[in-house]
Point group: C2
Amino acid sequence: MQIALLGGTGDIGEGLALRFAYDTDHDVIVGSREESRAKSKAREYETELDSRGLDVDVQGLDNAAAAATADVVVLAVPAYHLSDTVEAIDAEIDSETVLVTPAVGMQRDEDGFHYNRPGAGSVTELAADAAPDDVPVVGAFHNLPAARLANLDADLGIDTAVVGDDSDAVDTVTRLTEEVEGLRAVDAGPLANAAEIEAITPLLINVAKNNDGMHDLGVRFR
Amino acid sequence: MQIALLGGTGDIGEGLALRFAYDTDHDVIVGSREESRAKSKAREYETELDSRGLDVDVQGLDNAAAAATADVVVLAVPAYHLSDTVEAIDAEIDSETVLVTPAVGMQRDEDGFHYNRPGAGSVTELAADAAPDDVPVVGAFHNLPAARLANLDADLGIDTAVVGDDSDAVDTVTRLTEEVEGLRAVDAGPLANAAEIEAITPLLINVAKNNDGMHDLGVRFR
């Protein structure tokens, strides 16, 4: 498969790009609003992979071009860029594209980080609302520690809860997830169940902040 | 210490009562609105513990009497009974009592279980609002699988996120938690950070419902 990581120059995009390239046989495409940034980051990822003896091509394209050629498009952008990003690619995706949204809305105050639940119910459903009606949307990768993903020496041993209303699309994302060493996909049901997944991300930050020796946390259901 | 489990005849109360009695040297008191039910359940727990070679006394008292003698009072009641329960005991608790709230508000629809966030911000903060001002309140034990706790043969290997504004009270609950084999307490900051912890509980039910072989789930931050 071809996997496009839009916003693939950011933290979570970088982590997913490196893990997909390192652990799977799929083609990884880095997307960005600026093609030059995408290409530059793609070179960086190739260098990192090459240092580990893996000679793979990572493409860098603008978001629309990246989405156009991809089977799976991951919207690895901040929540406030979700709608813009979907708008920029909506002519390039169709019912054969699986659109994956890992974004979470958070706000911070003096107590810590909090989930900022949007009116749509969740950021995942916000992405689904923005997407063309025939494009299947899957929520996944919400609670992954970006820096730990990007460090290919770091063990994962963590889960990602997957939600979606299209079971084929959920299966595709589940299989892709489980090709990454140490990452397990668990099915959390339809898109309507996304809010409780997204809410874990601020909690992970609060726990990391308040406990010595805990950082870059993920979650395991057990 | 004396630990009172109000609503200690219910699922989570039973699990905590058995684990505290089995793994720690503290005295466990089962509280209920009806003293006779509390006494009957306390006998049941003693029998279970005795079958494992542990000869301990478990007291059964009505909620107010249970709270009156306890150092730590756990409100192991459904969210909709929280305020009633606190009202029934408020003359019996003071600044020397640590009040612990594990309750979560949930609603269910055709998609799954969802977190039902109260106006107070969280059920934990609802309990804090209901408690007398001088009583320190700690949120803990929200995401624990009741049936697995109550089965003393079951391994835990899970976490509970603890929140509170009184650091001594948080320390007391943290130490108590970590005396239970396989249970780890992580500090999630002030009470204001409780909502994101409570939201995990409906997610754990959704994950258990949607994945073969997963049931009675807890969570581990790692």
